[in-house]
């Protein structure tokens, strides 16, 4: 590398004061470069490390259960105080068998419900905050949306199990369950409504938790949409709803998808609130939307204690395997979202363009 030459005086004693400056800059440059490289590889190393540890820990469980792990439903720790048996070379408790299908399905179901509920509410909230409400009202309301994003999930879970669940199962679910026709899809909204702990309550609580995540991002996105295209749509005789649907939302569509993936990531991985309102029932798929169930994340936290009592380590390995499945789901969801963003970005305006 060539360094800008510093004029040096004939006598080496008299040092050019600029020379030290150059040296200092070179040092800074190097630190900056090394720091930059570190920062670049850190996420990759971190992600790889987590996945490798999970895979290593899960390996015994994978050898025993194979791919059947994600298709079977039974969740039996076996007799942890009795004898052991050897399956595919792995020592496991007598009668132990694990299948993650119900919690895998539960994870996807609760997140899907959360997204279906949260996305329209979030966009509506963001739209109201940016386009509808006067400034003196939208500023404090926007602040509250952001505060809501910061409420610890255990508090929302507590509220869900103490207030929302009982209220829904007493005053809302019965009405829905008794009035919907016995046809496909809607059939799952009929039948016993339980006591408020279950699939739909979990989905709604999750939805509430991700609304602020999506809404605050979407509000910031809407604020970036330049006024000129919106005026153009109004001047063409479009209604406000049409302007939102055809101009404002498409303008930031890829950003909204990104925010949604962020929310979805939180819903997929949310642990404690779901553990509190899902009923935490292992090994069965909810018969209708009110049925008790559990998710992968909730299972890991609720079962870790008892898994530690399994002397063979098979139960812990199984939880690690469940964790690996969850991590893979998150990665797949992110990749899918990227594809969608790329497709949506095709018509998007260059940033800063009016």
């Amino acid at each position: 590398m060539t360094v800008p030459s510093t004029p040096r005086s004939a006598t080496p004693v008299a040092r050019d004061p600029r020379a030290t400056g150059v040296r200092r800059h070179r040092r800074e440059d190097r630190a900056w470069r090394i720091g930059g490289r570190l920062a670049t590889i850190l996420p990759i190393v971190g992600f790889a490390f987590v996945m490798i540890v999970l895979a290593v820990k899960a390996w015994p469980a994978f050898r025993v259960s194979g791919l059947g792990f994600i298709t079977h439903s039974a969740w039996q720790p076996g007799n942890t105080y009795g004898g052991t048996q050897r399956v595919h070379g792995v020592l496991i408790p007598q009668g132990a068998t694990y299948g993650a299908w119900p919690m895998l399905l539960g994870t996807l179901q609760t997140s899907a419900i959360a997204l279906l509920v949260a996305l329209p509410i979030s966009i509506g909230t963001a739209f109201a905050l940016t386009e509808r409400l006067p400034k003196w009202l939208s500023a404090p309301l926007g602040f509250f949306v952001e505060i809501l994003a910061g409420v610890p999930s255990v508090i929302i879970g507590l509220w869900g199990v103490l207030v929302l669940g009982p209220f829904l199962s007493r005053d809302v679910y019965p009405i829905v369950a008794n009035h919907l026709p016995n046809v496909p899809v809607l059939r799952y909204f009929r039948g016993s409504v339980g006591y408020g702990e279950g699939l739909l309550t979990s989905g709604l609580v999750l939805g509430l938790m991700i609304v602020p995540v999506i809404a605050s991002t979407t509000r910031d996105l809407f604020l970036q949409v330049p006024p000129l295209p919106k005026e153009g749509a109004l001047a063409l005789g479009m209604t406000d709803a049409e302007v939102a649907r055809r101009v404002t939302i498409p303008w930031v569509r890829s950003g909204i998808i990104g925010a949604t993936v962020l929310g979805l990531g939180r819903a997929l991985g949310e642990t404690i609130a779901v553990a509190m309102v899902s009923g935490s029932v292992l090994g069965t798929v909810a018969p209708n939307v009110y049925g008790t169930m559990t998710t992968i994340a909730a299972t890991i936290v609720t079962q870790l204690d008892s898994a530690a009592t399994d002397g063979t380590g098979f139960a812990v390995a199984t939880l690690a395997e469940a964790g690996l499945v969850l991590a893979i789901i998150s990665v797949v969801v992110n990749l899918l979202a990227r594809t969608i963003v790329r497709r949506a970005g095709r018509m998007a305006a260059p940033v800063g363009r009016a």
Binding site: L228, A233, A235, L236, G237, E242, R246, A354
Partner: protein, 278 residues
């Protein structure tokens, strides 16, 4: 085949036949009629007491220094100012003899009849074709295969068809600025407006694109009535039939474009059109 005997029509008959074909027959000759219009934002008066008719099928240029109120005036004609906080108006604006603010006036159809082109191209985030038919779809004027016809017709009308016919489903943001503005013009024309408001339509364009737009504007009359705000005095002279000079919220002088530029009556007008005030 039958022999058709053709008789020469007298000029009078031709006139009558043409008059019969004219869709604007029986309508007032002034498509827009502004009467004692004053506009205010809060306590600030932006336009005071303007009375001026706009004759159907003509191009009127609105000129004047920045802050003279001409853009506000223009944006009032399709009620784009209505939602601006503090906006108030006195007086009347009649469109075909009906007030644009009357309760029987539907805002959406008013804006369909009075279209607008902006300072800078503002295509929507959708394909080129969807841009052209966006308004048509919103107003339910055409649907399905008809939309393709509308898109082609309007793109041909603005001279953009050959440039974009192979990429109708592409993003409009890859077009040049001039092409984007022509696309916006096609979009505005697609809903079949009677009046087109142009707010400095070429201020963001290069000279060649400007010329293309100007030439196009001359082809739109007399089918449409055009009202153009421009800072470009040459443009006002080239395209407009009549010119209105705004200064400090007042309509100082108006008249046929050559007369206003060559023999202005008001000293302020004279200074402005001679480049001594800007």
């Amino acid at each position: 085949m039958d022999e058709v005997t053709r008789q020469k029509a007298t000029p009078n008959e031709v006139d009558r036949a043409l008059a019969h074909l004219d869709p604007d027959a029986g309508r007032p000759s002034n498509v827009v009629d502004v009467r004692s219009l004053s506009l205010q934002f809060g306590a600030k008066t932006v336009i005071s007491d303007v009375t001026i008719p706009f004759e159907r099928g003509t191009i009127t240029a609105l000129i004047g220094p920045t802050g003279s109120g001409k853009s506000t005036f223009l944006r009032t004609l399709n009620r784009m100012n209505d939602r601006v906080v503090g906006f108030r108006h006195e007086g009347e604006v009649l469109l075909d003899n009906e007030s644009i603010w009357s309760s029987s006036q539907d805002l959406l159809s008013l804006r369909r009849r009075v279209g607008m082109l902006f300072q800078r191209p503002n295509p929507f985030p959708m394909s080129i074709k969807d841009n052209v038919v966006a308004g048509v779809k919103a107003h339910g004027i055409a649907k399905g295969r008809e939309l393709d016809v509308v898109a082609e017709t309007r793109l041909r009308e603005v001279g953009l068809w050959n440039a974009v016919k192979d990429r109708l489903n592409d993003s409009p943001y890859r077009l040049s600025g001039g092409q984007q503005q022509l696309l916006c013009l096609a979009r505005a024309l697609a809903v079949g407006p009677e009046v087109l408001l142009l707010d400095e339509p070429t201020s963001a364009l290069d000279p060649l694109s400007t010329e293309a737009v100007e030439n196009l504007l001359r082809t739109l009359v007399p089918a449409l009535t055009l009202i153009v705000v421009t800072h470009n005095l040459g443009q006002a002279r080239r395209v407009s039939d009549r010119t209105m000079f705004f200064y400090e919220g007042r309509l100082v002088e108006h008249g046929p474009t050559p007369a206003l530029f060559e023999s202005p009556r008001d000293p302020d007008t004279a200074r402005y059109v001679n480049g001594l005030m800007g």
